[in-house]
Amino acid sequence: MRTRRWTIAAAALCLLTAGCGSGSGKASSGFEAGADETINAEGETLTVWIMEGTNPDAEPFFDELSTAFTEETGAELDVQFVPWAEAHDKFVKSIAGGTTPDVAEVGTTWTPEFADAGALVDLSSQVESSGLSNDLVPGLVEAGTIDGALYGMPWYAGVRSVVYRTDLFEAAGVEPPTTWDEIVTVGKAIKKADPDVIPFPIAGDSEYGAYPFVWGGGGEIAVEEGGTWTSTIDSPEAQQGLEFYTGLATEHGLSTPAATTWNEADLSDAFSRGEVAMMISGSWTPGALLEANPDLEGKIGAFPIPGPDGGYSPSFLGGSHLSVFNTAENPDLAWALVRLMGTGEFAEKWGDQSGFFPGTTPLLEKVQAADDPLVSPFATQMVEAGASLPVTPLYGQVQGKKTVAAMLQSILSGDKSVEEASAAAADEMDAVFSRGS
């Protein structure tokens, strides 16, 4: 209601000030200036929300960005850091209260949801006229596109692979596995060499650890046909993958019962305590792991998640968009910031500092060329075997319901078999899909 009142107020203001720009035919985008035009917004302040923890030491970056932005536009930046864990709730509440920021970093899986709700501004025209269309990482563009309109400028991307302890592998006399069977043999060898180490903990509260095995087994999470999504997480292929993944814990004893209730943060904590030999972990984590326990320096490596018989198992390609919210009073100023952050010097610097991959292809190629042992396995995973979740706002609801994590946990705790648990998860997803938003 409040939003509507603002729209009316804005419309009235438009009439008084001799008409808005002709470009704002669509209600959602209010751009007036050209995409590359320098604008003067002396005295204005732009509110920005950034997820906390992506860049371990983000303050200097944003100090520098603020200075550059003020130099360019005259406007001030008000950067606020939001922890990932509470960000979704915070966005939703601020959408409800009409208190959204002007620009925000939005997780790629949330962008369709917020866009569908009408909270985000369509950036397609700006991206196109800036000549960026062909330079953006395709997976991130796909994740931010709803009905042909792009609601988020790709900012950075990350992917999960396996992070492992090189010293423990050496002590057990094993090499990184290249097939699923080898994961088991390697895991068992490590357990034999050091029974106190958890060879491959399976975190029950981490859906992203399970997806690679669903995909690797040849399954899909859900498929779209004629505009309707249907879950296929109970297909024989998907079940085979889940059987293998959870079997590492239930059958081969490579995990620990405690991990049944772990989330990814618990997993990282256990790793930096030195209790873990290998784990599914993000390309952005090695830095934080080393920071948490400097003794691990030189003892950490990474390898792409193996496929069942060689090759790679696809892993979720996630990351963040930079989005402009419809409450932005000056969309042109907001876009100026998105452009400044998402391209060139600042995008490159952000990638360097945070350990994420840049959202534009020229910068990504530059990273790949550098050949860092803690970076290039992830880059390989991203380029060779990156995958995306069902691009529908409804999948956000499935994630909110923790359907996949609930499935995993009930298998790991022995409550349900893989067949029962995956059938229950598929029913739950289908119920969400059939209800619509």
Binding site: H88, D116, P257, A258, T261, W262, G400, A405, S410
Partner: protein, 326 residues
């Protein structure tokens, strides 16, 4: 304590008796217009209305709407009548998991909280002033710890890998840490939650009952003791009937708190939705409304929880008043 209180009480009565004669004539002369009390109450009523009545009304409205994120942005809403309630009541999760978890947990916790609180109060009433001060401050700490902090401490204590309780029981050979994770099963999960909630809730009962015990007439106790009543008989036949109103208050308040327990469950491993077996009405409502953006359905669950609480509270109050009439 009684001697330090009496001067205040005395001045209080003195002030009241001094001003008493002035009031009746004023009222008789009708100098107080009938609207004046309302004007004076207006600020308080506005605050209460804004903070209490409006959200309450909003939740009830939401519960009969299909309300998602899109409706939140556009301000439009779709009336679905009792559809949300029908969906909740038809969900096996309600009957099999959420309702039993909420009701049984509350019942057990209220009973334990009141019993433990009363025992502590009886202890406090017996010990000397120095020990009482020390004990009272100690239990106040348990009360003052925020629910979030307290929950994390209990979770740490029972952690499946590094929790001290697990280690102790493991070294005694009572459990096998290689195969045990208490948070994945319903009963141990709620057992740990019970420890947490009772530990956090008993100080209030103890302090309130202690205040009641201080007001008990000593002569009745002495007479009963002379007649040969033992400690239990004195407690059951004299203390309990005399303190009935106090017990009613602590029981009703504990019931309300324990029925809508949220933080202590949500923050435990698996409590935020991954373990469906441990959902209660509070966490289920939150996860439905906030994590899935189905505000209408979440509100319907919340309304059901409120109705349940109202019924129970009314039942308590009725019992209390019936007792007083007898």
């Amino acid at each position: 304590m009684a001697s330090t209180l009496s001067p205040d009480t005395r001045t209080g009565t003195a002030r009241r008796s001094r001003s008493a004669p002035e009031q009746p004539p004023r009222r008789r002369r009708g100098l107080t217009p009938s609207w004046l009390p309302w004007v004076l109450l207006a600020p308080a009523l506005t605050v209460l209305g804004g903070l209490l009545l409006y959200p309450l009304g909003r939740v009830v409205t939401l519960s009969v709407q299909d309300f998602g994120l899109r409706q939140l942005v556009t301000g439009e809403s779709e009336w679905v009548g009792l559809g949300n309630f029908a969906e909740v009541l038809a969900d096996p999760l309600l009957w099999r998991v959420a309702l039993p978890n909420t009701a049984v947990f509350a019942l057990v916790n209220v009973a334990l909280t009141v019993v433990v609180g009363t025992l502590v109060a009886l202890l406090l009433a017996r010990v000397g002033p120095w020990a009482r001060g020390l004990l009272t401050s100690a239990i106040m700490v348990a009360w003052a710890i925020p629910a979030v902090t307290g929950t994390y401490v209990w979770v740490f204590l029972f952690d499946a890998r590094s929790g001290p309780v697990m280690r102790l029981l493991g070294s005694l050979g009572l459990i096998d840490p290689e195969t045990t994770n208490w948070f994945t099963e319903r009963l141990p999960f709620y057992g740990i939650a019970t420890l947490n909630v009772v530990h956090h809730g008993f100080p209030f009962v103890a302090v309130t009952v202690l205040a009641g015990l201080m007001t008990l007439p000593k002569d009745a106790m002495e007479a009963a003791a002379l007649d040969g009543a033992n400690a239990w008989q004195r407690f059951w036949h004299i203390t309990v009937p005399l303190l009935k109103p106090v017990f009613a208050v602590v029981t009703i308040l504990s019931t309300i708190w324990d029925f809508k327990v949220f933080t202590q469950i949500y923050l435990m491993p698996g409590g935020s939705g991954t373990n469906r077996e441990v959902l209660n009405l509070g966490t289920w409502s939150y996860i439905t409304a906030i994590s899935q953006n189905r505000y209408g359905l979440g509100a319907a669950i919340a309304v059901l929880l409120t109705l349940l609480l109202l019924v129970i509270t009314m039942f308590y109050l009725r019992t209390l008043f019936r007792q007083e009439e007898l």
